[in-house]
Amino acid sequence: MSDQDLVVETVRDILAAHEPFVLTAERRWDAGLWGALAGAGLTGVGLPEEAGGSGGELADAVAIVRTLAAGAGAVPVAEQLLVAGPALLAADLELPSPDQPTTFATADAVTVHPVDNGDGPGRFTLTGTVTDLAWAGVARHVAVLAPAPGGIEGAVLALVDASSLPVTDAANLAGEPRGSLALDRVGASGALLTGPRAAEVRARFALARAVQLAAALEQVLAWTVRYAGERHQFGRPLGRFQAIQMELAEMAGEVTAVTALTDAAVQALDRGENVVLAAAAAKVRAGAAVEVVARLAHQVHGAIGFTQEHGLHHLTRRLWSWRDEAGSELAWSRVLGAGVLAGGPDQLWPALTRVV
């Protein structure tokens, strides 16, 4: 058994004791699941021990994120393990305790001012609103990527303690918290990132969502195949009807495409390559698959899948949300289109073969 198999099995065991539930304004996340994961050291995987993490490889962290996504675990693990944690470490910023959730946000409407209070560089004040904040009100810390102060190229990555700051209650299509965080001259430690480094952080966020999408798409396919085998109509299982078989095969094609590209992008990240275009491609491809897979999954499940009594919605509502989070599908399509054209249209093919 590989390390990743062991990690996956551990996460699955924990998930088995924490069934997904309908997220509401009263209960926006699964604190019990988070506690169990943190207790097992799984909320620090892939982050080095000397920085307070649990050690392990990127592949281990990805395996955890995938397993939680497939299980509709309502916890900020993708943000912490794949985005905020690595971005803070790469910027030489302190990693908050992995036992407390840390999320990530890009905040183009937040203005940042350097503060010289005698402590040296690296202190900033932040003012403005962080919108569409994943796990607003849940995450203790937020790694905020905001435009650099006037005239400076690039961005500032700042670690904001959000525990006593006001957030609005808003949710994505799955009920996951996506409220706004108001910052009014909030002090934070931070670091200046060049434009390309900031782009890589944004790409990490997109890739994290692509990884979650890939895992959820695979699970929705598996659920739908299982349901087609169990549900009988006209005296035979749905899966015996050719019309249903065609739909399931189409879903399988989409899922396989997403997995192949997302895995390749993750491997490129692991090799230390610039993954802006790879992440863009993975996110766009995964988003495109959502349309087909979620639609056909619901079609095959029939009316029961359209209710909260059945679990299908835990993943399909997340799919419909995640495809336009961490940068919309349109935004990443443009990034990818511009990226492959950057060397001129005659260099399109070489550019494509370099993406992953």
């Binding site: 399931l248 396989t256 863009a280 993975a282 766009v284």
Partner: protein, 387 residues
């Protein structure tokens, strides 16, 4: 991992493949500059140029994975993938040798006699010997087991062939056909029994090749009629009665390559020129979406190449790649025409209008050739455990 589970392990990086990719790219740039070919859509069907095929053979880019003793080059499927992908992306005229290199050669390697291999494989690898697939018939399309072309042994032990094969791409420019024939009467209890493959020299008496024009007027398809054609007894390929197994074993080669998603790439390249000129935001996003789909298909196809290098025959994943890939080939036309103000015409002064016209008129073929997408989805459904 089982070779017929739907998902395959990721392909490893191949430095050798990147090396040969650079060489092919350089060669193609020089050929384009010299005007020896012009870029077209779907050139693995329509771009017959024996001189070009010979050049590829001289450079060692045909029969790449075969043993050296048969004229091959003992290189990996990953390297072959890089070569074929570069040729297709450039819209180069590769149709003459395509079937022989992709499919007939491996078929001969797997099932041919020593004599057949020694006589034919080195000529394929040299780009001098071209093949056609003889499977479909006027009354047998997706239901391949229903074929009626018959071969019976005469007193001398030779095969007498009667019947007709259709959609035989470029039979009129090919030397041999690998023809699926019925060598014993149909058995309703075992439809796949009694079929055999014959290696047929297309210049034999009793064989007539009639053109069948496709939608753009091009002559690629043919009807090949056999009227008492006598095929020497030693031209049986593999075992008598094993034809079904031999035909289905080819499918991982036939269905997984980059020609299953790059047939319309030259249109994408032309579209990119227009996007760069116009800077139109919607068109830019479309280019991004097309790129994302193409990049996913590359990874799927590369995984199959890596599986072939491991000695596997991943027929179910290959069916899946072909379904997703050929759907993409057609979608490219629709995606592009929604964001450019161009009228498609083969006579258009605008290269984008011409590429759109070529891709549109070839579009029905993408999801038919090599197994219809409905048949492929049935195979995928079996992989999902549904049948």
């Amino acid at each position: 991992m089982s070779s017929n589970s739907l998902t395959l392990a990721p392909a490893p990086r191949s430095e050798a493949a990147e090396q040969v990719r650079a060489e092919v790219r350089e060669f193609l740039a020089a050929e384009l500059a010299a005007g020896t070919f012009t870029t077209h859509v779907d050139t693995w069907l329509s771009g017959v140029d024996p001189a070009f095929s010979k050049k590829l053979g001289e450079r060692g880019w045909l029969g790449m994975t075969w043993p050296k003793e048969y004229g091959g080059h003992e290189r990996s499927a990953m390297e072959r993938y890089a070569v074929t992908e570069e040729l297709l992306a450039a819209g180069a005229p590769v149709a003459a040798h395509w079937i022989a290199d992709r499919q007939s050669g491996p078929n001969l390697l797997a099932y041919g006699t020593e004599k057949q291999r020694r006589e034919i494989l080195p000529r394929i690898a040299a780009g001098e010997c071209f093949f056609v697939i003889g499977m479909s018939e006027p009354d047998s399309g997706s239901d391949l087991a229903s074929i009626r072309t018959r071969a019976t042994r005469d007193a001398a032990g030779d095969w007498v062939v009667d019947g007709a094969k259709v959609w035989t791409s470029n039979a009129h420019t090919s030397h041999y056909g690998i023809v699926l024939v019925r060598t014993s009467p149909a058995d309703p209890a075992n439809r796949h029994a009694g079929l055999s493959q014959l290696l047929v020299d297309l210049s034999l008496p009793g064989i007539t090749i009639n053109p069948i024009r496709i939608l753009d007027g091009g002559h690629h398809f043919n009807e090949v009629v056999f009227e008492g054609a006598v095929v020497p007894g030693d031209m049986l390929l593999g075992e008598e009665g094993n034809g079904w197994h031999q035909v289905t074993a080819e499918l991982a080669f036939e269905r997984s390559g980059p020609e299953r998603f790059l047939s319309t790439y030259p249109l994408v390249a032309e579209f990119a020129r227009r996007v760069a000129e116009s800077g139109d935001a919607a068109a830019l996003a479309t280019l991004g979406r097309i790129s994302a789909r193409l990049l996913a298909l590359r990874q799927m196809s590369l995984r199959i190449a890596a599986a072939l290098d491991r000695g596997e025959l991943p027929n179910i994943p290959a069916a899946l790649v072909k379904d997703v890939g050929t759907t993409f080939e057609g979608d490219v036309v629709e995606e592009i025409r929604k964001v450019v103000d161009v009228t498609p015409s083969l006579d258009s002064p605008d290269p984008l209008g011409r590429a759109l016209a070529e891709a549109q008129l070839h579009a029905p073929g993408y999801t038919l050739r090599g197994g219809t997408n409905e048949i492929l989805r049935g195979i995928v459904a079996r992989g999902l455990g549904l049948r």
